[in-house]
């Protein structure tokens, strides 16, 4: 990963984490503030409920006391004195009085708790009211479930003895605690109040009400009610009504104790989390906006910083690459005096020293090469010179003998001289050829065709050697490549000649071609001769190195030079006693073909221009 990218990543990560941390902090603070507000609202609502509850309780007590002090109650009590009451005479009594005092429940009971008249259940006369607590006759209002013909209801009750009747008659009156009561609560927006009336031994959805009536949202709210009923303590839970967080609601459940301490009802205050979710969403959006802007800013800053820091490094990198590619006069600009400037100066110093050392090395190599060339030339020229010297000395001596003998010797010596001179010329020609190796003339060529031509050149020689077998293994799918036909032909001839020389006892020579993946060609020349050692293989392409008694050591050097000029490679593998294989890899060189065409056209154009200039000069 580049330094630039690392820097960008570091900046972005920093901005991201900062934004996330800030957003999380704001969100946490929001949540805690919202929770605090919710708690305050819940407490306020519970207080309001309690106040309303107490107010209604006082009202009930007042009404019941008024009824207990009124004439009908006194008359009823007097009628009870020592006589079985005429229930029929009192059946509508409680209902009428309850209506006039706006009470939902009203019962007149004797000292034993037997109902004389009941407003909520007129047919209940004569029955014992087990829930009547005479001790409550001096207490305030309390919650109590009341059986009704249609089921049960929760009521706020008060009990009082009829005044001046020696506790002969009790009045128990009350008001319902139901949705009408809940509707009197002043609820802030997003808050609702529900009441669970604990009227049945088991939890029942029918007993959960709000100000609009029976509540249908039961399944998710039941557990918290069950908890409050079980331990009589307040509980809070967040309920996810739907998959949308906007619909979430915090439910605070508080027990409402009845007279006996049993939980008579559960007040549930629901606070919608919609506003909190919307606020949180707003915070998140702002965080995303800030984060995005921060990342863009980080990108800009990191780019600028990277430009400052990495530009000198990139120059150094480019210079190092040039140096590696062979350039010697490479320097980098020193644009600062910091560590990077020192690095650039050190690089420049290094390249200078490297250039000087390289020049010295080239000079030494040239000297060595000239020495080697002189040594080889001396060696190659000394060999024929010695017979020449002997022959000339022999002619000189023969000149002192008879003309006939001289004639004889002259004739032999002349032959020898010519032969040795021819050898000298040959040696000189090879050196000349090596020194004057032409540049390849790239043309589309069929490698298989060249191989077959080479094979035909040496066919006669192979045929004369009965122990040598010739094998051609050609890939018929070869595509034409750009190459110099003559140079390739010459290189192959050289290799085939070497192969034939390597098999004086006979063997198999193989010429093989294969198509390469890059549309180039692989050519192999294999023999089954005596093979080469590893050291021989390493030095084989060194000019003037030869393993043959009469070799100049230039043949494989020329081959390597030709292949190199074709941007190809040549390699050798050999095992002693098994044979040697030369492999030539030639690329397709299609670009060279185009370049050749361009050069040819340029050459033609130049030639035409020169001809036109010459013509015009002649005319002048």
């Amino acid at each position: 990963m580049s330094f630039h990218r690392k820097l960008l990543l570091a900046f972005s990560a920093t901005v991201f984490f900062v934004v996330v941390a800030v957003a999380w902090t704001v969100s946490s603070l929001t949540r805690s503030a919202f929770d605090r507000i919710t708690q305050e609202r819940t407490r306020a609502l519970v207080r309001q409920f309690q106040q309303e509850f107490n107010s209604r309780g006082r009202e009930v007590v007042k009404q019941v006391e008024a009824i207990a002090a009124a004439e009908p109650a006194v008359h009823m009590a007097l009628a009870l004195r020592g006589a079985q009451p005429d229930y029929g005479a009192y059946i509508p009594e409680a209902k009428v009085i309850a209506d006039s005092h706006q009470l939902d429940f009203l019962e007149f009971l004797d000292a034993q708790g037997k109902i004389i008249s009941s407003a909520q259940w007129p047919g209940k006369f004569g029955y014992q009211d087990a829930s009547l607590n005479v001790a409550a006759a001096s207490q305030g209002a309390y919650l109590k479930p009341e059986d009704l013909p249609q089921g049960s209801a929760l009521g706020l009750f008060a009990v009082r003895a009829a005044r001046g009747t020696d506790n002969l008659l009790f009045v128990a009156g009350g008001k319902r605690i139901d949705q009408a009561f809940l509707s009197t609560l002043d609820l802030p927006a997003g808050v609702r109040a529900l009441l669970y009336e604990n009227l049945a031994p088991a939890l029942s959805a029918q007993l959960l009400i709000d100000s609009s009536g029976r509540q249908q949202e039961w399944a998710k709210i039941a557990p918290i009610i069950g908890q409050v009923l079980a331990d009589g303590l307040e509980h809070t839970a967040t309920i996810h009504w739907t998959a949308r967080p906007d619909d979430d609601e915090t439910i605070d459940a508080s027990p409402l104790p009845g007279e006996s301490g049993r939980v008579a009802a559960v007040l549930l205050v629901g606070s919608s989390l919609r506003s909190y979710v919307e606020l949180n969403r707003h915070v998140r959006d702002v965080a995303l906006l800030v984060g995005g802007a921060g990342i863009l800013l980080a990108f800009s800053i990191s780019s600028w910083a990277a430009w400052l820091v990495t530009r000198p490094l990139e120059r150094l990198t480019a210079a190092a690459r040039s140096l590696a590619a062979g350039a010697r006069e490479v320097t980098v600009e020193v644009s600062s005096r910091d560590e990077l400037g020192e690095l650039a100066e050190a690089f420049n110093r290094m390249t200078r020293e490297l250039g000087e050392q390289s020049a010295r090395l080239v000079q030494a190599e040239r000297v060595a090469a000239w020495r080697e060339l002189a040594r080889r030339l001396a060696h190659e020229l000394k060999n024929p010179l010695f017979p020449l010297q002997l022959t000339v000395e022999n002619l000189v001596r023969a000149h002192q003998h008879s003309p006939q003998i001289f004639e004889e010797i002259f004739s032999e010596s002349a032959t020898t001289l010519l032969t040795e001179i021819a050898n000298l010329k040959s040696t000189i020609a090879q050196f000349a050829e090596f020194s004057k190796m032409p540049r390849p003339d790239f043309q589309p060529v069929d490698v298989n065709q060249i191989v077959q031509q080479v094979a035909r050149v040496f066919q006669a020689q192979v045929d004369s050697h009965t122990k040598i077998r010739y094998r051609l293994d050609l890939d018929q799918d070869l595509a034409p490549i750009a190459a110099d036909r003559d140079l390739v032909h010459r290189a192959l001839c050289n290799l085939v000649l070497n192969a034939l020389d390597a098999m004086p006892q006979g063997g198999t020579m193989t010429l093989l071609t294969r198509k390469r993946r890059d549309q180039g060609v692989r050519i192999e020349v294999r023999d089954t001769g005596k093979g080469l050692t590893g050291e021989q293989c390493e030095r084989l392409f060194t000019p003037y190195y030869t393993t043959k008694p009469n070799g100049t050591g230039l043949g494989l050097a020329i081959v390597q030079s030709i292949i190199s000029d074709h941007r190809g490679t040549i390699s050798v593998t050999s095992s002693l006693g098994e044979g040697t294989s030369f492999a030539i890899e030639l690329p397709h060189n299609g670009g060279e073909l185009n370049r050749e065409e361009g050069a040819a056209s340029r050459l033609n154009a130049t030639r035409s221009r020169l001809e036109r200039e010459s013509t015009s000069a002649d005319r002048r």
Binding site: G88, G123, P149
Partner: protein
């Protein structure tokens, strides 16, 4: 005794003559009647004619061929005589001569036959002044059937139902008001009253207030109020118990356990307390569908409280279902009785909850028995209770008992009370008699003019008349509706 004998006789004679003079029948005046029911038709063929009040209205406007008196004897009506074949399938009635509908047309045998054919499947033939009725099967109750209000003779083909009763309709506002005028040509003699004004849809309380203020002469009263009004010195007229208050299950029991629970419910109801406290001591405890005075065997069906046995029956069933008990919310006493039954049921472990829904498991039903004839009453009661109709065609007591026992054995009905109809009559109305079957005899009552409601301020007919009501104009002495 010797010293005071004659003077005492003389004084007594004077007092008796004065009393007679004060109660002597007088013609004229308008009687005011308030009713709680609100009929929407004066046609005897209307289903409402099975209700007692509507039946009484029918008998004011129309006549039947025969009628049943308080002793159960058949009395002539439009038919003066009748004969029945031995097979009790062919009946021949001789019609009364000279009877006219209130539009002046003569009541012929053809008209009577056409009227009866409207609602009955019988084969009816007329010839001369006689009427033949051929039945598919013997029916000893035919005369009682013909005495029902629905079989009153009405002039067929008339836009307005025309009858032959002691009164004719002068004004009629459906469900609100009916003004009757005396039928001058009534074959039984002109009624003493000139008119009768009946107002419908009045609550018991409104009626009571109107009677107390002298604005009504006859009002209906709730059964439970009768004792109180009697104690207050009111004149109470009471019929024989002709209404049945009963629990009716919506379906037959599906298993023995359900039958046991229903038995437990029937046994646990404290009918005596309900009667004494809620019904003001009125009515009779019922174990059967028909009252004892009608059937003669009702006492054979138990109606006594037996909590122990109810608990035993309940104990044989593991789980009691929650029964909803429906009642008519318009009937005040029904609600209290239903509440009491729910309490009684809870005492033995039955779960009963009140509901006003019509599809309750149990319904506290209150039905009117339209006839004093036991067979007809049982047929009607079974139909009204949804128990199917036994279709009794015999007056045989054994057959009746078996039919009623079979109905009770279905465990679909639990009879509770037989209740009378109660009316309170104002002081000005004289000669008021109510039949055992709750029938009025308005043709025979008269008003003491010094105390008539019409003579009291604020109670004149004109003041209560609805100006928008259609008036039936007299045309040649006949009332017709526009």
């Amino acid at each position: 005794m010797k010293h005071f004998g004659w003077p005492l006789v003389a004084v007594s004679s004077v007092l008796l003559s004065l009393t007679y003079g004060a109660t002597r029948p007088q013609y004229g005046g308008t009687a005011h009647i308030l009713l709680r029911s609100a009929p929407n038709s004066l046609d005897p063929g209307s289903p409402q004619s099975t209700l007692m009040a509507s039946a009484n209205l029918v008998h004011l406007l129309y006549d039947t061929l025969v009628s049943i008196d308080d002793t159960g004897q058949v009395q002539p009506g439009l038919a003066v005589s009748w004969q029945v074949a031995q097979d009790q399938r062919h009946w021949e009635f001789q019609l009364r001569d000279g009877v006219k509908f209130d539009d002046g047309s003569t009541v012929s045998a053809d008209a009577a036959a056409a009227s009866l054919r409207r609602l009955n499947p019988w084969k009816i033939l007329s010839h001369g002044s006689s009427l033949d009725i051929d039945l598919d099967r013997p029916d000893a109750s035919l005369l009682a059937e013909l005495a029902l209000a629905k079989n009153a003779i009405v002039k067929a083909g008339s836009e307005v139902p025309r009858g032959t009763g002691p009164f004719r309709a002068a004004e009629w506002v459906s469900q609100k008001r009916l003004l009757l005028k005396a039928n001058e040509e009534y074959w039984g003699g002109r009624p003493f009253l000139d008119a009768v004004e009946i107002e419908f849809g009045k609550s018991y309380r409104e009626q009571e207030v109107a009677l107390a203020l002298g604005r009504a002469d006859v009002i209906e009263i709730a059964t439970e109020d009768a004792r109180r009004l009697e104690g207050g010195g009111g004149r109470i007229a009471e019929s024989a118990p002709l209404e049945l208050l009963a629990l009716v299950f919506s379906h037959a029991p599906q298993a023995d356990s359900e039958s046991k629970l229903r038995d437990a419910l029937a046994l646990c109801i404290d009918r005596a307390t309900i009667r004494n406290v809620l019904l003001g001591g009125k009515g009779e405890l019922a174990g059967g569908i028909l009252p004892n005075w009608m059937s003669g065997y009702e006492f054979l069906f138990p109606s006594q409280l037996n909590v122990t046995q109810a608990q035993e029956e309940r104990g044989e069933v593991n789980q009691a279902p929650l029964w909803t008990l429906g009642y008519n919310p318009m009937d005040g006493i029904s609600q209290v009785v239903a509440e009491r039954i729910a309490l009684n049921a809870r005492e033995v472990g039955l779960r009963v909850q009140l509901a006003t829904a019509a599809n309750a498991d149990i319904l506290l039903a209150r039905i009117h028995l339209p006839s004093a004839n036991a067979a007809i009453a049982l047929n009607s009661a079974a139909a009204q209770l949804g128990l199917g109709e036994p279709k009794l065609y015999t007056a045989n007591a054994d057959a009746l008992y078996e039919a009623e026992a079979a109905l009770l054995a279905t465990k679909r009905v639990v009879p509770l009370f037989h209740l009378p109809s109660e009316y309170s009559v104002g002081a000005a109305l004289r000669g008021w008699k109510m039949g055992r079957d709750g029938s009025w005899s308005l043709a025979d009552v008269w008003l003491n003019h010094g105390e008539s409601a019409t003579d009291r301020p604020g109670s004149a007919i004109e003041e209560t008349r609805d100006s928008s009501a259609p008036v039936l104009p007299r045309s040649g002495g006949h009332a017709e509706r526009n």
